[in-house]
Every structure is written in structure tokens, then in C-alpha cells.
């Protein structure tokens, strides 16, 4: 029970920990989630059914999980990082194998109570495992390319598997998030230059191996009018929704694109379009501002953490969250191809809600345990 209550530090009771949780951040998260409920209510054509009601319940459950994660000692999270990563890999492989033996491409694992998308969990697991790896890596070894082979593998193996699913969005996020961790950990800048150059060389090869629909998405992204009824339909309709919202929007529950079903996937990946259509530029910027405040909190927590692991974890999770928001909004408003990344806290969906809240739990855990000193056993264990 030392991870929850350490007799050596009696002041760190669960109650005390809960009290020291960054409640303004929790309030901010809840505000964003509430915006999500309102959007899902609108997406259901002014009805709690079928999305808003279930999302609220999910949020409540996820909130409890987040608080539970937050009060767990940060050192424990560090210790289980490899195990958590390994378990997530197993799930990923399980999904892959099941798809291979004939159930079709599937990203889900049904655990009875909840369906889990291992690729979503992997985003957190990757941040944890890299934070742990770089914490343990002696500073003088950071310049050694050989020492970077293992963490690079930690990123690329799951990314490659996710890409095979095929889930271009998650794969991109894993790679970008991992790269950010590398950068923060102090990997030499010239190495990034080498990697980027290598990646550039691989692109034609990779293009060859992309599925047709992925190629189509990219081609259609480059020119959405190419196929207004087919692949470009989502992108075009989303742009129409956003653009027709104007500065102040069409008013809550009055978005014609959303309510007349012109918006595809309006409750999941394209939920931002409802915000932008019904509340216009003002609403869209406001939501982005809320996220920006969350990122600032994430950075503040990272900077206040005394442990290297805590900082890396906080930066990693914040970056991960940023990537969610950026990729989602960018694809919805036509800056990126439609790759299937949800808007955290707002998009309808169990796993993404769980993953995001789990991430916030870790972030808050970093905050709660900002002054915890890592003993030798913690650090190297």
C-alpha cells in the first residue's frame, strides 16, 4: 500500500492528496467536457439521446478514474511503465492477430464492460515508457546514437502496427509524440536532421505501401473538389459547415449542416464543426482557448515538477493532448487530411475519453507529487 499511503511520509494521505489536486485544472477539463455534452446534445438534434447522456456518464466514470490515477504515487507509475507498455503491446498484437484470422480490420477489444482501443492506450503508454527510459538514461549517454535504438523501437514498432490497422492518425500521433519526447530529453538536434532526411527518402516507398483509401484521403486533402461526392465529401461538408458559421454562428441547435445530416461523423471526429457552425468563429476560438489554457497548465505542472520523470511525463502528456487537438481541428477545417483523430473530451467515444482522462490523471499525479524525491530504487527499479 506504499503507493497509496507511505508511512514514511504520513502527511501524504489520500485526503491530503485529493486536496492538493489541481482543482482549477479539473474545473477547466469539466468545462471543456461540458461543451462536448452541449455539442453532442446538438448533434442528437436537440436530444440527450443517444450521445450526450452516455457521454456524461462516461465522463463521470472517467473523472473517478482520473482522480484515482492522480492520487497514485508518481513513483509507482514510473515503476509500472514498462509493464503497462508491454500489456498495451499485447493488446495491440491481439487486435492484429484477431484481424488476421478473419474478423476483418478491427481496432477494438471487447472487455465486456467496455470496448478498448489499444492504439489509444498506446499513446499514454508510449509517453510513460519514454519518460522512464530517458529518466534512467545517464545524461552523458544521450549523445550516443546506439542508446537511442531502443526508444526508437519503442515508438516505431507500435506505430507500424497501428499503421497496419490501418490508422494513419494514431500512427502519426505516436511518431510525433515520441519525437517530441526525444527532443525534450535532449537528443542532439542533428540527429533529428538525419531522421527527417531519412524519412524524406522513405516517403515514396511508404506512399507505395499506403492503402488506396489512405492515398485517396491525402490526394483529396490536397484537392477536396477532386471528388465532392466520394472521398472529398467529408472534408468539403465540414468546411461548408465551418465556413457557413461565419463570425457568430447560426445559433445553438440551428446548424443546418449538422441537423440535416450533411456532416458525417458529426458526433465523433467532426464534432468541432458543430461548434464552429453554431457558434461561429467566436465559439471555435473560445474552445481552442480553453484547450490552450489546459496546455499552459500542463507546462506549468511540468516546470514545477522536481523529478525528471515527472517533467517528461507532463510534457509528453501535454504534447500528446496538443496533437489530438491540433490534428483533429486541422483536419476538420481542411488543413490536414482526414485521418480519424478525435477531439479530446468533446468527441463521443469511450476509449478516447478514458485515455485522455487517464492522461490528465497522470498529469495531476505529477502535480500532486511534484516534490516527491525519487530514491535509487524508484529511479532505477
Amino acid at each position: 500500500m506504499r503507493w497509496l499511503y507511505d508511512p514514511a511520509r504520513p502527511q501524504q494521505t489520500v485526503t491530503v492528496k485529493l486536496l492538493s489536486v489541481n482543482w482549477p485544472l479539473v474545473a477547466l477539463i469539466t468545462t471543456i467536457a461540458a461543451v462536448g455534452f452541449a455539442m453532442l446534445y446538438s448533434a442528437g438534434n436537440g436530444s440527450w439521446h443517444p450521445w450526450a447522456s452516455r457521454q456524461t456518464v462516461r465522463y463521470a466514470v472517467a473523472m473517478l478514474i482520473m482522480l484515482a490515477v492522480a492520487v497514485v504515487d508518481i513513483r509507482l507509475w514510473m515503476r509500472v511503465a514498462y509493464g503497462f507498455y508491454a500489456a498495451t503491446m499485447v493488446l495491440l498484437i491481439a487486435v492484429e492477430v484477431r484481424g488476421a484470422i478473419g474478423m476483418g480490420a478491427q481496432r477494438w477489444i471487447d472487455l465486456g464492460v467496455i470496448q478498448i482501443q489499444p492504439s489509444e492506450l498506446m499513446k499514454i503508454a508510449l509517453v510513460m515508457v519514454l519518460a522512464r527510459y530517458f529518466t534512467n538514461l545517464p545524461p552523458e549517454d544521450i549523445g550516443d546514437p546506439l542508446k537511442l535504438i531502443v526508444p526508437a523501437g519503442l515508438i516505431l514498432v507500435p506505430a507500424a502496427m497501428v499503421l497496419r490497422q490501418p490508422d494513419l492518425g494514431t500512427a502519426t500521433m505516436l511518431v510525433l509524440c515520441g519525437a517530441a519526447m526525444f527532443f525534450l530529453a535532449g537528443v542532439r538536434v542533428w540527429m533529428f536532421g538525419v531522421i527527417i532526411a531519412a524519412a524524406g527518402a522513405i516517403v515514396p516507398f511508404a506512399w507505395h505501401h499506403l492503402r488506396d483509401y489512405q492515398k485517396n484521403r491525402i490526394l483529396t486533402f490536397l484537392n477536396p473538389e477532386r471528388d465532392p461526392l466520394g472521398a472529398g465529401y467529408h472534408a468539403l461538408q465540414a468546411k461548408i459547415a465551418v465556413g457557413s458559421g461565419g463570425i457568430f454562428g447560426k445559433g445553438y441547435l440551428s446548424g443546418t449542416q449538422a441537423h440535416l445530416s450533411f456532416l458525417p461523423e458529426r458526433q465523433t471526429d467532426f464534432i468541432f464543426t458543430i461548434m464552429a457552425e453554431e457558434f461561429g468563429l467566436v465559439g471555435g476560438l473560445l474552445l481552442l482557448a480553453l484547450y490552450a489554457v489546459v496546455f499552459v497548465y500542463g507546462y506549468a505542472i511540468a516546470f514545477r515538477s522536481r523529478s525528471h520523470f515527472g517533467r517528461l511525463l507532463a510534457f509528453g502528456i501535454t504534447t500528446n493532448l496538443f496533437l489530438y487537438v491540433f490534428i483533429n481541428v486541422a483536419m476538420v477545417i481542411g488543413l490536414l487530411p482526414v485521418v480519424g483523430v478525435p477531439l479530446p473530451l468533446v468527441s463521443y467515444g469511450g476509449t478516447s475519453m478514458l485515455t485522455v482522462m487517464f492522461g490528465f490523471g497522470l498529469l495531476i499525479s505529477v502535480y500532486v507529487h511534484r516534490d516527491v524525491r525519487f530514491g535509487r530504487g524508484d529511479a532505477e527499479g
Binding site: 545517464p138 545524461p139 552523458e140 544521450i142 517530441a180 527532443f183 525534450l184 530529453a185 535532449g186 461538408q237 468546411k239 461548408i240 459547415a241 465551418v242 465556413g243 457557413s244 458559421g245 461565419g246 463570425i247 443546418t256 449542416q257 441537423h259 440535416l260 445530416s261 450533411f262 464552429a276 461561429g280 468563429l281 471555435g284 476560438l285 481552442l288 490552450a292 496546455f295 507546462y299 511540468a302 516546470f303 525528471h308 517533467r311 517528461l312 510534457f315 504534447t319 496538443f322 491540433f326 481541428v329 486541422a330 477545417i333 481542411g334 488543413l335
Partner: protein, 633 residues
């Protein structure tokens, strides 16, 4: 420890770099939002409206066609169909079963319903049963509670209360054809839209059509109607009033139908209004609106009676002896004969090697013009035609409306033919033969005219004015208080023939009907105030038939129908103040030799008598004619 601090510093620095990158990316998002929502907002707002707003056309009700007294000849009949919206119907099989207990629903119907359901969105109504009668509609309507998703759709279908009696004059409507699609009117693109295909329906199609209204509706991405945003009602089609008197038309059709294949035209020569335009047999114009079965179509086009041809305007016949008054007019005007000229008829006339017969064996002896018209002496007119010449006959014929389209306001009119020397040279390359003038002089050979032309011709003889026919009555429905024509319309100029000439001809025609040896004596109108004058005619169909008959080998009904002569009659009445004119052609009506008088003249007798009895100048209220018919319809 120092290194670890260094590590922390690097991370802090780099975190700020990453943060800067994130700020830049967020700024890019904000900039893009600004671009879409401010700079390009109008464009996207328009695209959003294009997405959701559909314009539906509202079909205006087609204008009615009524006769001169307002009796409807073409109306719009409500038609009921049972439709089912599958997504509201619950258990489809149960609902279909319930419907089948109320109205007959065959296995084919059910299969079609199931097929339609599979091919469309579940909110699109599927037709269960079309064109239900009032009883069936009521049964479904009353039980609507037990039939979820089933409703009654009401549409309009063109209805012709008099069916085949008005099929040629009024015409019919049908689906839009490829050529008709090429039009500015958006209505023609509607799948259920009907346009006029013949007769008045075609001629006045644009007036009858009206103009489309629009309904602006909001639809969702699947095309389902969400609500109506705006509505602009169209302009209903105009009512077209015809000069036709349905009572007269009905009589004409009855009499013509009794003859198999015949046509009759009655005109009011003072106004040019067509009072009856009969072409028998007719056809059911309603069947064209709802669609003909292949069997119905085959029956129509295979019939020897050509029911689809409007014989009154498109049937061309040799005028036979009805042409003689014209030849007489041409000769009198040319001065080659006088009213007192006499020729000797021995029953035949020799010209070179050819022999030209008079219909009367043994001949008429010494015969004057007056008697020649009355008794229709052929030899007299052989001489007369020979004297006046074909070109002067043709010029006069054209003046009287023969061989030229009359310009009546329905499509499909044939011009007929009045030959000239130039025409024959141009078409056959052979010079005109003198004998041909003789044949033309008794209305045979190349001469061919339509019944309507005959009516116009007799109207011009009767009035001395250039009467022109018209179906639509510009004065509107005739009311008991409406002003009536007191004399011939000023629109009809004088024809430019001496009144004395016309009087001689009219006198001959009076004799043909009212004097004992007249060819139509038996068909005279005995009431002196309504007496008619006329001229019989027989058009040879088959030359051999005539020669064979002349030799007495085959007579009467033993001649095959197709080879019998046509019987013709033209007449005007009353003789004291000619106003009503009539032309009758009975195809292959000749069995006796006196065809025109025996077969065609009685029809003209009835029509002219009835026309005069219904003369509005007498202020006789029209019989309550349409009501009974309408009640049946």
C-alpha cells in the same frame, strides 16, 4: 548531479521551443478559422443553403376545356392512390394483409411493393394501389388508424366526360416526349407532367398549362423533406371555351358512328365558330393520359376505320359532285356560261377516244345550269369545265378555301389538292390533258379536299364572305344575356364574286334539296323557315368498281366495303338568311349510286335542323345536356 541539472536546463529550453511551435500551430488554426469563417463565409453560407434548400415545382391544375355553353369537355378528375411509408408501417406483411382486406391487392402488387421498398429509402412512399375509386379510398381512409404508415394521396388526372365523342377536336394529353423536353418551362421535366398531344389540348397547351408554382423546402442529406420554407403558388391554366355545341357534337358523333367511318363539320358561318367537328370513330382520350396497353394501341392502329385520324381536317377526299357549284361559279364569273346556258346530255360525252359518262344512264336531255346542279348532271359540267379551264377552276377553288389549309386552330390539318397545269407539269412532268379537266369538273381525278374545307367552301357560297373557321370562342361562355351575332362578322371580307353568280348557285343548291328531282329531296327540312340548300356528292374510290357496277355485275352491298364510293353532302341553312353550314363525308358509304343524297344528306339534315333549333338568336335555352353525362362520368 551537475549533469542532471544540465539535463533539466536543456529540457526547459527545449520545452519552450516546443511551446513556441505549438503557439504557432494554434495560430495557424485560428488563422484558418478566420479565413473560412470571415473571408470565405459568404461562399460557404451559399453552399450550405444549396445543400439544404430544394426547389420543388408545384404543378398548376390544367385549364378546363368547355363548350360554348360551359359544358366541360376536358376536366381534371381527382385520382386516389394508397401509399405506404415503410418506415412508419411497422410490420410490413401485417399492414399489407390489412390493406388487402379492404381493397384488392394481387400477388403482383405485393411483389412490386416489396421491390419498390428495397430500391428506395424507407421514408419514400411506396404506391400500394393506383387510381382507386371513391369507395376503395373511403374504406382505407376510415380504417387509417389500423393501417400505420398508409395514407391516401390525391392527384389529378385529365378526364374527358364525353370520351370518344370529343377525342379529335379536344385531343388528349400524354407524357412529355423527347422533343417537348426542349422547353423553357421547368414543368416538362416532372415525370408525372402531361402535355397536350393533339387537338385543342395541343394547340392551346401553353394557355391550358398555366405556370408552375414553387415550394422551397429544406431537405436533409438523404433528401428527406424537413419543412417548407417558402411557397409561391403557380398560376392555374386558363379555361379554353370552344365554339363547339356539345349537343350538336353528340348528335354528329352518333350519326357518324352509325356509318362506321365518317366525319361531319357544322359551322356558324357568321362567326366562323365550329359548332361540331365530328370524326368517327373516335377513341378514348382518357386512356392516353393514363397510358395505353399494347393491345389497346394495336387495336387503334389496326382498325380499318383509322380512329386516330381526325378525318374532319386530315381526311382528304375527292369532292365529287359537291365541286359542281364551284365549277359553276368559276364559269359564271369567267363569263363562259350564263345562268341560261343549256347543254345536251345524252348520258355520255366523247372526247377523242375517251367516253365520259353521266351518272344517269340515258342522260338528262337538254339541261340548264339550275337543273344541272339540282340533278347533278355530269355532262353539263364536263362542258362547263372544258370551257372555263382547269386553272380558272383552281383559282376559284382556292378562293373558296379548297386545296388550302383553312387555318383552324388545331394541329394536323391537311391541305388537300386542287390541281393546275403548272402543278401537274411540275410533279409528273406530263402536260395537262383536256380530259382531266372534265374529270376535275365533276370533282374527281386529282381534286381532293377535307370535310372542313368543304364546310368553309359552302359557308363562302352561302354568305359571299371569306369565312374562316375557329374552334376557340373568344367571346367566352355563352350566357342567356350574352349578345348574339346579328349578321356576319366584319372580320370576314367579301369574297369578290358577283352576288348574282352566287344566287344562281344557291338557287341550284336549293333545288337539289327542295325540289322533287333534287338529289337530296328526301333529306329536305320541311319547316320552310329552316329549309336548307345543299349539294350531294360521290367520290370514286375505285375506278374499276364503278365500271363493274356500270356493267351491272356487282351492286350494292356485294361491293367490298373498302371499294365502295364515299358519300358526301354539303349544305347551308336557313335558305332565307344563310348562317349554319354543314359538310358530311361518309367513307365508303355508297351502295346505291345516290350516295350523297341517301347516306350523307340525312345526317346534314339532322345537324342543321338541330343547329337552327338551338340558334341563340331564338333565345332558346340550351337543354340541360351536360349534366346527365357528367353525373355518369
Amino acid at each position: 548531479m551537475k549533469r542532471r541539472n544540465a539535463r533539466g536546463k536543456i529540457m526547459t529550453r527545449r520545452a519552450l521551443v516546443v511551446a513556441g511551435g505549438k503557439v504557432a500551430l494554434l495560430a495557424a488554426l485560428a488563422g484558418r478559422l478566420y479565413y473560412l469563417q470571415v473571408v470565405q463565409a459568404p461562399k460557404f453560407a451559399m453552399l450550405a443553403d444549396e445543400n439544404r434548400i430544394n426547389i420543388r415545382l408545384l404543378v398548376p391544375p390544367r385549364g378546363l376545356i368547355v363548350d360554348r355553353f360551359g359544358v366541360p369537355l376536358a376536366t381534371n378528375r381527382p385520382t386516389y392512390q394508397a401509399v405506404m411509408i415503410p418506415e412508419q408501417a411497422g410490420n410490413i406483411a401485417e399492414t399489407l394483409g390489412a390493406v388487402a382486406q379492404l381493397v384488392p391487392l394481387t400477388e403482383t402488387d405485393r411483389r412490386r411493393v416489396v421491390r419498390d421498398m428495397h430500391n428506395r429509402h424507407s421514408y419514400v412512399p411506396v404506391v400500394l394501389r393506383e387510381d382507386m375509386n371513391w369507395d376503395e379510398m373511403s374504406r382505407i381512409d376510415v380504417n387509417a388508424v389500423d393501417l400505420p404508415g398508409v395514407s391516401i394521396d390525391q392527384g389529378l388526372i385529365r378526364h374527358y366526360p364525353f370520351g370518344d365523342e370529343t377525342s379529335h377536336a379536344v385531343g388528349y394529353v400524354g407524357p412529355v416526349s423527347e422533343e417537348e423536353l426542349d422547353s423553357d418551362d421547368p414543368l416538362v421535366e416532372l415525370p408525372d407532367f402531361r402535355v397536350g398531344k393533339s387537338g385543342v389540348e395541343k394547340e392551346y397547351d401553353l394557355e391550358l398549362r398555366g405556370s408552375a408554382g414553387t415550394s422551397e423546402i429544406e431537405v436533409n442529406a438523404f433528401g428527406r423533406v424537413v419543412r417548407e420554407l417558402a411557397r409561391e403558388d403557380g398560376i392555374p391554366g386558363e379555361q379554353i371555351v370552344l365554339g363547339i355545341d356539345m349537343a350538336l357534337q353528340d348528335l354528329a358523333m352518333h350519326r357518324c358512328n352509325a356509318q362506321g367511318s365518317a366525319s361531319a363539320v357544322v359551322l356558324d358561318s357568321w362567326t366562323g365558330e365550329v359548332l361540331a367537328l365530328a370524326s368517327a370513330p373516335g377513341f378514348d382520350p382518357g386512356a392516353f393520359a393514363s397510358g395505353l396497353s399494347p393491345a389497346q394501341w394495336k387495336a387503334l392502329i389496326d382498325s380499318p376505320y383509322n380512329p386516330l385520324t381526325n378525318k374532319a381536317i386530315a381526311g382528304t377526299y375527292a369532292p365529287g359532285s359537291t365541286f359542281k357549284p364551284l365549277v359553276a361559279t368559276a364559269a359564271l364569273e369567267a363569263g363562259v356560261i350564263t345562268p341560261d346556258t343549256e347543254f345536251f346530255c345524252s348520258g355520255e360525252l366523247h372526247l377523242g377516244n375517251a367516253v365520259f359518262h353521266c351518272w344517269k344512264k340515258g342522260g338528262h336531255g337538254l339541261i340548264s345550269l339550275d337543273r344541272a346542279i339540282r340533278e347533278s348532271c355530269d355532262v353539263f359540267f364536263y362542258h362547263t369545265a372544258d370551257l372555263v379551264g382547269i386553272d380558272r377552276i383552281a383559282a376559284m377553288a382556292n378562293r373558296f378555301g379548297l386545296g388550302l389549309p383553312t387555318g383552324i386552330d388545331i394541329p394536323g390539318e391537311k391541305p388537300g389538292l386542287i390541281p393546275t397545269r403548272a402543278w401537274k407539269k411540275a410533279t409528273t412532268g406530263v402536260a395537262w390533258q383536256r380530259g382531266e379537266t372534265l374529270s376535275c369538273g365533276i370533282g374527281q381525278s386529282y381534286v381532293s379536299v377535307t370535310p372542313l374545307q368543304l364546310a368553309i367552301y359552302v359557308a363562302r357560297i352561302a354568305t359571299g364572305h371569306t369565312v374562316k373557321p375557329v374552334l376557340a370562342r373568344s367571346a367566352g361562355i355563352m350566357m342567356p344575356t350574352s349578345p348574339v351575332a346579328e349578321s356576319i362578322s366584319r372580320a370576314f371580307a367579301l369574297i369578290g364574286v358577283h352576288e348574282k353568280t352566287l344566287d344562281v348557285v344557291r338557287q341550284g343548291m336549293y333545288g337539289a334539296v327542295n325540289e322533287l328531282h333534287g338529289t337530296a329531296y328526301r333529306a329536305r327540312i320541311t319547316d320552310p323557315s329552316m329549309a336548307m340548300a345543299g349539294k350531294t356528292g360521290t367520290a370514286q374510290v375505285h375506278h374499276i368498281a364503278r365500271e363493274v357496277r356500270d356493267r351491272g355485275v356487282v351492286t350494292g352491298t356485294k361491293i367490298p366495303w373498302k371499294e365502295r364510293d364515299h358519300a358526301l353532302f354539303i349544305a347551308f341553312a336557313p335558305v332565307s338568311a344563310p348562317r349554319y353550314v354543314c359538310a358530311v363525308v361518309v367513307e365508303h358509304g355508297g351502295t346505291t349510286g345516290g350516295e350523297g343524297g341517301a347516306v350523307a344528306a340525312p345526317i346534314a339534315h339532322d345537324l342543321l335542323l338541330r343547329a337552327q333549333q338551338r340558334d341563340p338568336a331564338r333565345r332558346v335555352p340550351p337543354e340541360p345536356f351536360g349534366a346527365a353525362k357528367l353525373a355518369q362520368g
